[in-house]
Amino acid sequence: MLRNRLITVLTFNDGTLFRTKLFEPDYRYTHNFVDSWSVDEIVMLDVTRDPSADKTAFYEVVTQFAKECFVPLAVGGGIRTLDDARRMMAVGGDKVVVNSGAVERPELITEIAEAYGSQCVVLSIDARKSETLDGGYEAFSHFATRATGKTPGEWAREGEALGAGEIMITSVERDGSLQGYDLELCRQVSDAVSLPVLGMAGAGNWKHFVEGVEKGGLSAVCTQNIYHFTETSIASAKKFMEKKGIPVRL
């Protein structure tokens, strides 16, 4: 049976672990308490804004992390070329997450998929509510500052055709909130593709994880809340999900 995954998402600003709210770094923390055993997967994203910033600090933290990590590690932030992806793999990533780079040059997805396989490419889509597009959402890039003119479902379908192995959908408006996932947005994307969809932004309590799977059609539920990263949190969240009938790895 295919189990649903619980994923920890860590966002780093210049090598420092930060929680974000509405896409701005908000609360810094040490990563000493991130459990990399009982969670199903970890995503590490470099959210440093300055495109010319030195990425060394981020690479170092990924390398450190990869040494003690027993679950798949997806790494992203600022990937524009196959070489960038290669570098992310070299420092410890098992797969890469692409976003703005794929919007600028969609063939990036194909290049990485051909080099490493589709299972190594996660297409991350940041979406805002839209009053003009059908479905009511629009995909954005560049830290959610640049509109793509596409609905998240359209862009996810294109990504699938180009060779992406997974889609990660993030609601910009819910980032850093504890109000639950944007289930309508998750549902639109999971209906649009046959790939596993990872839902992100808004996880406040464990009921939201269950809703994400049941109503949002998510294959994996992500949390970026630093308070959900510890072993006790993850173990009890998974127990809760199992009790509600969601298949998880305990």
């Binding site: 609360y27 000493n32 109000q179």
Partner: protein, 369 residues
């Protein structure tokens, strides 16, 4: 590289604090704006709220979340004796109650107030304190939830819609101000996301059952709306200063101060006296973010024009790093930790970007100057 505010001493490691292009923090801007506020108009707005929201019947006009400290006691006193309202004082018990605050609360009650206090199940409370201290370097996460939910629970149970909180921390002390309205009306989603950071519903485990979380959970939103709860910040309507609150209340009651003339880690003796765990709480702030209780207190006084930056800097250098020794043995007992476990936990919370380990010493990489 940690940056410090040019006009006070606050570093940019304080969660959510916003600095302008000149390197001045948003708390300093809030303080500067106070000179331009039409306080008479704010007072009129306050009276208007009271008129509109005080219940038509029932003995109480409003709720004051009350620790018995200088701030909440000054608010309660003003509401009762300057505005003629009958507030119900509501306390969520400190984790480790301090006799000083027990005395100060009793002095207030002798002056003529009704008081309700909830003390949570201590088996659960101690368990959560220990867990949160280890995992998050903060033994008070659940207390923060309780101190926010219990006054609203009381508002629902006693059908008293109006609650007067003290000040909006994000604007007053540095943080992210979501809107002008957020300075006036308490937004409980903001409090949950900013101050507590987690939904108490997530705290069930082998020891904690769902019913154990009752003191920490916010009441059902439908019930809150039915009563029409309106939670306001007193500091929006009346100029706020912790020093002036102290000066005010000490003239009214026999207000006792910290035992040894000042509190661990700072130069003040009149602030945050009710919970022995606070001495550790503020020390952990120093460990996690690199600024301690002396910096915190000095910033507040600098912003209110009660101290120069140089004076504050001197006090910060003298006291900020001081270990909270006064109740240390009691802290270990409360948290069920050995000295070694305690030290190991503290050091795990040090951010290597802020701290440098030199031999067996931890040194701040960029101390305030």
């Amino acid at each position: 590289m940690v940056k410090y505010c040019k006009t006070c001493l606050m570093p940019d490691t304080r969660p959510r604090i916003v600095f302008d292009a000149d390197g001045v923090c948003n708390a300093c801007h809030t303080a500067a704006e106070k000179a331009t506020i039409d306080w008479d108009a704010r007072r009129a707005e306050f009276l208007d709220y009271v008129e509109r929201f005080r219940p038509e019947d029932g003995p109480y006009d409003c709720i004051v979340p009350w620790s018995g400290g200088k701030d909440s006691s000054a608010i309660a006193w003003k509401l009762k004796f300057e505005f003629g309202l009958n507030p119900l004082l509501v306390t969520f018990s400190p984790l480790m109650p301090n006799d000083i605050a027990v005395h100060n609360r009793e002095e207030m009650l002798k002056a003529g107030f009704d008081h309700v206090m909830i003390r949570a199940n201590q088996k659960v409370s101690r368990h959560l304190s220990r867990r949160f201290f280890i995992e998050r370097g903060d033994p008070k996460i659940h207390w923060n939830a309780g101190v926010n939910s219990v006054p609203v629970q009381a508002a629902v149970n006693y059908k008293i819609p109006l609650i007067f909180y003290a000040e909006h921390g994000e604007s007053e002390y540095g943080g992210r101000v979501l809107s002008e309205e957020h300075r006036k009306v308490r937004d409980f989603a903001e409090v949950l996301e900013h101050q507590i950071g987690d939904d108490p519903y997530n705290w069930m485990d082998d020891v904690v059952e769902e019913h154990d979380l009752a003191p920490y959970l916010y009441p059902d939103l439908g019930e809150v709306e039915e009563v029409g709860v309106k939670a306001l910040y007193f500091a929006y309507f009346f100029r706020w200063s912790m020093k002036e609150n102290y000066d005010y209340i000490k003239d009214k009651i026999d207000f006792q101060l910290a035992e040894n003339g000042r509190t661990d880690g700072t130069f003040t003796n009149f602030d945050s006296l009710d919970d022995k765990i606070d001495n550790l709480y503020y020390h952990m702030q120093f460990v996690k973010f690199g600024f301690g209780r002396a910096v915190r207190d000095a910033c507040r006084m600098i912003q209110n024009g009660q101290m120069t930056r140089e004076e504050g800097l001197e006090l910060a250098r003298k006291y900020d790093a001081e270990f909270p020794a006064t109740y240390h043995d009691e802290h270990l007992d409360y948290l069920s930790l050995s000295e070694a476990e305690f030290q190991e936990t503290v050091d795990k919370h040090r951010d290597p970007k802020i701290w440098d380990q030199q031999g067996n010493q931890w040194v701040l990489r960029n101390p305030v100057e």
